[in-house]
């Protein structure tokens, strides 16, 4: 009888141990991204609320994907839904501007979606040219005064996109390397606000909620990408100024390399995921679906 009880006790102990092991493994498996690399910060700074999803590029764990337009009769949202299984998503939000959304227009400015040319019509009033590599890396160029440089077959190659000849060479490169390219407003570069102060009262920059992509360099020399959103209706100039101060003092960034404007108008769409892969639904700054079909999407994911 005693022997039988001991056997049952041992069996129960072993089972409990295995259960605890299984639970801990499941929890570890449930973690989709490292919270030390990706941080979600909600704070107020200078009478403005900032929702920040800050991603460290250290160890090259962060991947970028951009869905520029509808392809093969699939909407951007459908393409995103089909792509996202087995991905460790961090954030997905609307990207650049769109022309004539009611009549099936397309993205404004030069646009290539994974090597497929969508729009060759470069808009030189949008100074931010964003190049997303097939590997998930990202590069930003100020079209006003710089040229795009990349390495082709081990050789540094330059493309002057302002010139049609250079643009053709660049498009050929983007096609062959399956790169994604889009244009948007460049609000700041190298710690300098590029938005005109006279635009404060101009109807061209009305008061609105703002969302941007920021590329910064921290004290440790690591590059960070952040999606920052404010619900307060502000002008672009005021927002950029406050954001530069916020990044430098509150976030302790040495350098704000670029601030790129993202669309919050008619396609105010964002989804943010917690470190366990769950969709965060509380708070409009981390989750908002203004429309069922965003016309383009910028997506950040984590590679284990």
């Amino acid at each position: 009888m005693i022997l039988k009880n001991r056997f049952v006790l041992r069996l129960l102990t072993t089972a409990s141990f295995l259960l605890i092991m299984q639970l801990s493994t499941s929890f570890k498996m449930g973690v989709k991204y490292d919270p030390n690399i990706v941080r979600i910060i909600n704070t107020n700074y200078g009478e403005m609320d900032f929702c920040t999803i800050r991603m460290s590029r250290k160890d090259d764990k962060i991947r970028v994907k951009y869905f520029a337009t509808m392809l093969n009769n699939q909407t951007v949202h459908t393409r995103f839904q089909r792509w996202k299984p087995n991905k460790n998503l961090i954030v997905a939000c609307a990207g650049t501007y769109f022309s004539k959304p009611s009549e099936g227009g397309g993205p404004v400015g030069l646009c290539v979606d994974e090597g497929v040319v969508v729009n060759r019509n470069s808009d030189l009033s949008f100074h931010g040219l964003v190049v997303v590599y097939a590997s998930g890396g990202i590069q930003v160029v100020n079209l006003k005064n710089s040229i795009f440089k990349t390495i082709v077959n081990g050789v540094v190659t330059e493309y002057d996109i302002k010139n049609e000849y250079g643009k053709n060479l660049f498009i050929n490169w983007a096609k062959s390397s399956r790169a994604t390219v889009f244009q948007t407003n460049l609000l700041a570069e190298n710690n300098i606000n590029l938005v005109s102060p006279t635009a404060i009262s101009s109807s061209k920059t009305p008061l609105a909620a703002r969302r941007v992509l920021i590329v910064t360099k921290g004290l440790n020399g690591v590059e960070y990408h952040s999606i920052v959103y404010t619900r307060k209706n502000v002008s672009l100039y005021e927002f950029t100024n406050n954001l530069l101060a916020f990044m430098k003092s509150s976030q302790q960034m040495v350098e704000v390399k670029f601030i790129l404007n993202l669309d919050t108008g008619a396609q105010n769409w964002i989804e943010t995921y917690d470190s366990n892969g769950g969709l965060i639904k509380d708070g409009e700054c981390l989750y908002s679906h203004f429309t069922e079909n965003p016309v383009n999407l910028l997506v950040y994911s984590f590679e284990q």
């Binding site: 022309s99 004539k100 959304p101 009611s102 009549e103 227009g105 397309g106 993205p107 404004v108 040319v117 969508v118 729009n119 060759r120 019509n121 470069s122 808009d123 010139n163 049609e164 000849y165 643009k167 053709n168 060479l169 050929n172 109807s203 009305p206 008061l207 609105a208 909620a209 209706n233 108008g265 008619a266 105010n268 203004f290 429309t291």
Partner: protein, 264 residues
């Protein structure tokens, strides 16, 4: 005191004016008819006397007035022959192509129709440029040797068509209703050039209404309109609602009085 008959009339008239306004501003009325009749244009001339470029690395190449005159038709074969003749004497083709392209683009900027911002849009000349652009594009697809050069010339022309359409379309949205405009816009699209024309606010409003983006409409009304606009809309809204409720109340009381009529 407003009589109920007047308030009823005001309500109906206000509602009709609102509907008519939406119909007038919101309708995309493309010209009627099937055929698009473009005039034949072949007078695309360089304003500059000559196409020239000068650089030590490729020696001095000068294309004189006579040659420039022969370029009225801007033929791809002419450029291919020129590039071939340059290549015989020089070594680096890409450099030659680039210089020739720069010289050409400078000249094209100065040509009639392409560089000018005329008072009104010249669809027929744009159609001619689109034909030239198409020709260069076709050659770029078959001529692998100078493919980048030829497609760049084609792009230069298409970009000009797109820019002209954008300029006039943004100046006056009604221009976009023209069939010729539509044809040229479709040509640009076929060459993967999306013509970016700002949609008038009333059309945007209709689009947002159809997409049920009410919170965006409210936000835009609060933050993106002037005080006078807000004031006018609020006054008109209040007046409309007043007349509407007044009409409903009078109709209701009349209905009740008829129902309670002892003669009945």
């Amino acid at each position: 005191m407003i009589k109920w008959q007047n308030s009823f009339k005001l309500t109906v008239i206000g509602f009709l004016v609102f509907l008519l306004g939406l119909t007038y501003w919101g309708t995309y009325s493309v010209e009627k008819g099937i055929n698009i009749n473009f005039e034949q244009k072949q007078d695309l001339k360089f304003k500059n006397d000559a196409l020239w470029f000068d650089d030590d690395s490729v020696n001095t190449i000068y294309v004189n007035n006579q040659i420039a005159d022969s370029m009225f038709n801007l033929s791809p074969t002419w450029f291919i022959n020129l590039l071939d003749s340059i290549e015989v004497n020089k070594t680096v083709t890409a450099v030659n192509e680039m210089y020739l392209f720069e010289a050409l683009s400078k000249n094209l900027q100065n040509t009639k129709y392409i560089g000018d911002t005329a008072a009104s849009i010249d669809f027929d000349s744009l159609k001619y440029i689109s034909e030239l652009s198409n020709l260069f594009w076709a050659y770029s697809q078959s001529e692998s040797k100078y493919s980048v050069f030829l497609s760049s010339v084609s792009d230069l022309m298409t970009a000009k068509i797109a820019a002209t359409l954008e300029y006039y379309g943004n100046k006056d949205f009604n221009v976009t209703n023209s069939k010729k405009f539509y044809y040229l816009e479709q040509y640009c699209l076929s060459r993967q050039y999306i013509v970016n024309i700002r949609v008038p606010k009333i059309k945007k409003l209709l689009y947002h209404i159809s997409d049920n983006k009410w919170s965006h409409i409210l936000e835009a009304f609060i933050y993106q309109t002037s005080f006078i606009f807000k004031f006018t809309v609020v006054i008109l809204g209040v007046l409309f609602l007043y007349c509407f409720q007044f009409t409903v109340r009078v109709l209701y009381s009349q209905f009740n009085s008829k129902r309670n009529d002892p003669k009945k």
